[in-house]
C-alpha cells in the first residue's frame, strides 16, 4: 500500500521522464537502425553505424569534440576554483563587487560566442589593441584564433561561460568552510600552496568534479556555440548532426541518429566511469 502511494507520488516526474526523455532516446535509437524513418529506409540495420565507424572524418570530429569539451572544462574548473577561493578570501566589503562574476551566467551561449567574436576576431578589439601597441601592422598578422583549426574560439567561449558556473558551485561549498582551519595550518608552518592543495582543494573537490562532468559533456555535445563560432573541418559532432538532419537528404536520417546514439552512449559511459573513479579515489584516500 505504502509502496503504491510512493509510486503514485513519483508519477508526475516518472511519466514525462519515460514518455518524453526515454521515448525520445528510444526513437533516436530506432531511427538509427532505420525504423520509423520519415522515408522508408532500404539500408541494413547497422549500415549507418558501419558507415560512421569506417569514416576517418567521424573519428576526427569525435576527437575534436572531445578536445574542445575537455580543454574548455579543464580551464573553467581550474580558473573558476582559483577565482572562487580568491573571492572567498576577499574582505567582506569587496565581496559585493565580486558579484560581477555572475554576468556570463545570465548571458545565453550564443551571446557569449558573440562576445568572443567581438574580442578575438581578426578585426576585433584585441587585434585593434595589438595594432595600437605596435605588435601588428595589418589585420593579417593577428593570429587567426577563431579559425585556427583547434577550436580555440569555442574553447574560449565555453571557458568564459563555464568559469562563473564553477565559481558558483565551489563558493557554495566554501560558505561552510571555517577559515580558522587555514589559520591553524599557516601557524603550524604550512605554505600558502600547501594550504590550498591539502586543505582547501579536498574540501571543494566534489563541486569541481560535478562541474567538470556537466561542463565537459555540455561542450562536447551542445549546438549553440559551434553554430555561431564553429569551424567546419573537422567540426563538432553536433554541427554534423544538424547538417545531416536539416540540410541533407532525408535518406541520411539514420546516419544523423547513429551519431546521436554514439554521443549518448559516450556521455552515459563517461558519467559512470568518472564517478566510479572519483569514488574509488575517495575511498582509498580515507584508508590512508
Amino acid at each position: 500500500m505504502n509502496g503504491t502511494k510512493t509510486l503514485l507520488k513519483l508519477c508526475p516526474l516518472l511519466v514525462p521522464y519515460a514518455a518524453l526523455f526515454c521515448g525520445g532516446v528510444f526513437l533516436t535509437v530506432g531511427q538509427s537502425f532505420g525504423w520509423m524513418t520519415p522515408v522508408p529506409y532500404d539500408g541494413g540495420r547497422f549500415e549507418a553505424y558501419a558507415g560512421l565507424l569506417s569514416s576517418p572524418s567521424f573519428y576526427a570530429s569525435f576527437l575534436f569534440s572531445l578536445q574542445v569539451g575537455a580543454v574548455s572544462a579543464f580551464f573553467a574548473v581550474t580558473v573558476g576554483t582559483l577565482l572562487a577561493y580568491g573571492v572567498w578570501k576577499l574582505p567582506v566589503r569587496l565581496q559585493t563587487t565580486a558579484l560581477v562574476y555572475k554576468i556570463p551566467l545570465i548571458l545565453p551561449h550564443i551571446a557569449v560566442a558573440f562576445v568572443v567574436m567581438l574580442l578575438w576576431s581578426r578585426s576585433g578589439i584585441l587585434a585593434s589593441l595589438a595594432h595600437s601597441v605596435g605588435w601588428i601592422d595589418t589585420l593579417r598578422e593577428f593570429p587567426n584564433v577563431l579559425y585556427s583549426g583547434w577550436g580555440l574560439g569555442m574553447i574560449l567561449a565555453y571557458a568564459l561561460k563555464g568559469t562563473p558556473f564553477v565559481m558558483l558551485l565551489v563558493m557554495a561549498l566554501l560558505v561552510h568552510f571555517d577559515p580558522r582551519q587555514i589559520q591553524t595550518a599557516r601557524m603550524l608552518g604550512a605554505s600558502k600552496a600547501r594550504v590550498f592543495f591539502r586543505i582547501v582543494l579536498p574540501r571543494v573537490a566534489p563541486a569541481m568534479h560535478t562541474a567538470f562532468i556537466i561542463l565537459f559533456l555540455y561542450s562536447f555535445g551542445a549546438f549553440d556555440i559551434p553554430f555561431v563560432l564553429g569551424e567546419s573541418r573537422p567540426g563538432m559532432l553536433s554541427l554534423h548532426v544538424y547538417n545531416l538532419y536539416f540540410k541533407r537528404d532525408l535518406a541520411r536520417r539514420p546516419e544523423a541518429m547513429a551519431i546521436l546514439v554514439i554521443m549518448f552512449c559516450f556521455a552515459a559511459f563517461f558519467i559512470m566511469a568518472y564517478s566510479g573513479i572519483v569514488r574509488r579515489l575517495e575511498s582509498s584516500e580515507r584508508k590512508v
Partner: protein
Amino acid sequence: MKPLSLILLLFVLFVLPVVVLVLSSLAPGWRFPNVWPEAFSLRAVTYLVQHKDPTLIALGSSFLFSLLTVLTTLVMCLLPASVFARKAFSGKTLLEGLLLTPALVPPMTFAMGLHFLFIQWSLADTLIGVVLVLAVFSYPYMFRALVAGFQTLGGDYRACARNLGARPLRILLAVELPLLLPAVIAGGSVVFLVAFSEYFLVFLIGGGNVPSFTGQLVPLLSSSDRSLASILTLIFLFLPVALFVILDTTLVRAYRKRGMI
C-alpha cells in the same frame, strides 16, 4: 593575490565584455584598427525602436515559454521531490541518478527523436511542444533545488498541520509551498535562464512558428553591422537581472508583511 588585483581581474574577465557591448551598440561604424570608436551614433537604437514589433513579439514569446517551463517543472517535481527528501526506498540512488541524466547528456540526443514523436502528436511547431522539450531538459535543476528545500524544511511543519487536521494536499499547498518559495525561486531562476537562452531546442521543436529572442539574435550575429546584435545581447543581460531584482524585492516585502523574516 592582492584583493584589488583580483577585483581587477574579475572586471577584465566579466565586465569588460559588457563595456565592449555597450560601446559597440552605440558605435555602428567601429572598425579595426580603432581601439576606441571614432564616432558614436544612436542609429542602431533608432532602427530597433522603429522596427520594434518583431523584437517585442520574440521577447514576449520567449518570456511566455520560459515562465511556462518554470511552472511545468514545478508541477512535475513538487510531489516527487517531497518523496525523495523524506522516504527511503530501494533503488532510490539509482533512480535519482537516472532522473538527473536529461540535464547531463547532450539535449540533441533525445530532442531529435522527440521531434519525430511530436510531429505524430501534432505538438511540433507549437508552444506546448517547446515548453515540454524545455521542461524535460531543465527539470533536474528544479528537482535538485526542491529536494534540498524539503530537506531543510524538515517534517515538523507537516506534522503540526496534520495534527491540526489539514489534508495532505492542503498541507502541501498552504503550508509547505509558501515555505519552499526560496527553493522554488532558486530552481526556477535556473530553469528560466536555461529556457530563455536556449536556441537549438526552440528552433528544432518550434520550427520557426514559436518566435524566440535567441532566434531573433542568431541571424544578426553574423551580419557585418554588430550594433544591432550588441543591443539585443545587452537586453538579454538586463531583462533577467531586472526580473530577479523585482522578484527578490517583492518576495522580501511579502515575507516582511507576514512577519516571516
